[in-house]
Amino acid sequence: MNRSVTEIPAYDVVGLTARKSAGGATFELSVPRLMIARGEKVALVGPSGCGKSTLLDLLSLIAAPDAVGQFRVDCGYGAVELARLMLDGRVNLLAAIRRRSIGYILQTGGLLPYLTVRQNIGLSCRMLGIPPHGRVEAIAERLEIVSQLDKLPATLSVGERQRAAIARAVVHRPAIAIADEPTAALDPLNAASVMRLFVELAAETGCTTVIATHDVHRVERLGLRQITPQLTAGESARHVRAVFLG
């Protein structure tokens, strides 16, 4: 079941700005316009510190922008305009959208240490009231971690943990999957297979996918649309501006 990319945008963002400052250095993320179609697979590519993670946090509704003109998201229930909610800090409304429709995969540590792998993967299903049985096993089979299901995350290898984290993020079939350097902590061999499995899984469910990575070659091979920020230094080297356009 390979649903094709549609013309309907999953994200349609206009005029988004987010600033960060630490130790006198300032960083400004600027997104004049970003359109990601439903079912599309996008890679944010660039060196670390270029604002990829910041943009992912904005797209997954966990960070608030400093300014935004339009932030339309379509999770399969019609487009909703979230700019106002984000600026007003309505975090619980945004969390309710995130729990159903956005799966987030971190570089490491996307699992609760006190739950077994099975319970971790089934967490979103439990929150949504979906019976997790069958689904958890199926996705574990797909990610080759069936034998690890009843173990605690601490007893798994880094690669197994990352597969479990991917399973946890997409088992309830969110409309959008967001991954921040999902394979950066893995050895190259593992990294290749995990990335391939993730993209395949996303393709099978027709899930809109946004991956941040510094590994251009891998995403090229997997056929993702690449968005690379333009970095400009401000009046001093301590002021960096990253512009994402796509």
């Binding site: 993670s53 946090d57 997954s60 966990i62 960070a63 975090v91 619980n92 969390a95 309710a96 995130r98 729990r99 159903r100 956005i102 987030y104 971190l106 570089q107 490491t108 540590g109 996307g110 699992l111 609760l112 240490p113 006190y114 739950l115 319970q119 967490l123 979103s124 439990r126 929150m127 009231g129 605690l152 946890r168 921040d180």
Partner: protein, 413 residues
């Protein structure tokens, strides 16, 4: 929302179990504070309630003894008896007239004993201190009566229940000394400690007849010479009065005072006990407030440090879409769990030590009394108070947890 709270309670509990050694320390910490508090409270409750019970069971604590003598008629007694505070009242004659010389013929060489005669009737608290019905004290046949002896009288006469005593009532009549012989069957011997004096409790009719006899008035009760009696006895010089409960002593004393009768009571003992109860309660509250503040501060701080330590996991909960309220509930659930298990543990420890404490005080208590007592509701109250205070103390950590933004703490950078 309710499902989310359910899931959060489950997650928080799993985490609590997962970090077993830390959780155990926290639980033991709470139990270590609560156990001595429960012991202290149990001692306070046990001491006060056993002293109260002892006082309430002691009829002398409820006695109101008129000072001096008066003239109390039937209407006055009817009014007194009808008062809700009155437990028992029986008229009495003049003290001086109310004596008899008793002898126990079972022992040939037994000494004659001058005994006070007190009136009694059904429901006399001295004869029924433990609410058991006492044998009736009445006339058996002319000049023969059943009596109840005080322990001191019984001892002096070497008398046991069933013994028949010989009694002599002496008088001076028309210049001659003469005496009347009566027989008394011992029906009951009162508990030691109720009356220290040598007393025989007799029916009021006997007492009234003895008084008449000594005053030279002819009485149908005893065949003896005397002036003709009045149509009916118009008044009595005194009475024996007991309040219904120890709390009724004061109003009854005040009622008597309003009617010009001064009465000796043991109100002082009752008030001293009530004061002791209040003082012990204040002491307990003071100590538990100090311990409580310490506990609350400790729970608050340890919850805050837990939130700081688990920032990453709490961020993850926000990331998967839990509301801020749910994330706030996470440390609160653990604080409440710690508190409840701590109370249960402390209660078990206290229940285990209770017999030891009771044994320590064993010799100093009347049989059946326990110095250490806790009611099941006390444990329930302890659980509720501790759980709600723990929740309150952890709410600061809850607020801190709710403020964690999903993006902080998630990355190692």
């Amino acid at each position: 929302m309710i499902r989310d709270i359910g899931v959060i309670i489950g997650l928080s509990t799993r985490d609590f179990v997962h970090e077993l050694s830390l959780s155990t320390c926290a639980v033991l910490g709470i139990a270590a504070i609560l156990a001595p508090l429960l012991v202290l409270f149990g001692l306070k409750f046990g001491i006060v309630s056993s002293m109260t019970a002892r006082l309430a069971a002691d009829p002398r604590a409820r006695a109101l003894q008129p000072i001096g003598q008066g003239r109390f008629d039937g209407a006055w007694f009817a009014t007194l008896e009808a008062l809700p505070q009155t437990g028992f009242v029986v008229p009495a004659t003049r003290f001086l007239a109310a004596t008899a010389t008793l002898r126990n013929p079972k022992f040939i060489d037994s000494q004659a004993l001058t005994t006070e005669l007190w009136p009694t009737s059904r429901g006399d608290p001295l004869r029924e201190p433990d609410e058991k019905p006492a044998p009736s004290i009445d006339r058996v046949e002319p000049l023969t009566y059943t009596v109840a002896l005080s322990a001191a009288a019984a001892e002096a006469l070497h008398a046991a229940v069933g013994d028949r005593l010989e009694g002599r009532i002496g008088r001076s009549y028309n210049g001659n000394r003469e005496a009347l012989s009566l027989r008394f069957a011992v029906a009951q011997i009162l508990n030691a400690g109720l009356i220290d004096r040598k007393v025989a409790l007799v029916p009021l009719t006997v007492l009234a007849a003895v008084e008449d006899y000594r005053e030279g008035i002819a009485t149908p009760e005893f065949p003896s010479a005397g002036a003709p009696p009045p149509e009916s006895r118009s008044s009595y010089a005194s009475f024996r009065l007991y309040a219904r409960s120890i709390d009724d002593v004061e109003p009854l004393r005040d009622w008597l005072a309003r009617h010009g009768v001064e009465a000796a009571t043991r109100l002082h003992d009752i008030q001293a006990l009530q004061q002791l109860s209040r003082d012990l309660t204040s002491l307990f509250l003071l100590i538990s407030t100090l311990a409580g503040i310490g506990t609350l501060v400790w729970i608050a701080i340890s919850s805050l440090s837990t939130v700081a330590r688990k920032q990453r996991e709490l961020s993850l909960l926000r990331l998967v879409g839990f509301s801020t309220g749910c994330v706030a509930a996470f440390p609160i659930v653990q604080a409440v769990l710690t508190a409840v298990i701590g109370v249960v543990l402390a209660s078990l420890a206290v229940l285990a030590t209770a017999p030891v404490i009771d044994r320590m005080f064993n010799g100093q208590l009347p049989p059946g009394a326990r110095v250490f007592r806790l009611h099941p509701s006390h444990f329930l109250v302890a659980v509720l108070i501790t759980a709600s205070s723990a929740a309150a103390a952890a709410s600061l950590a809850g607020i801190r947890a709710a403020r964690i933004t999903p993006s902080e703490g998630l990355r190692d950078e």
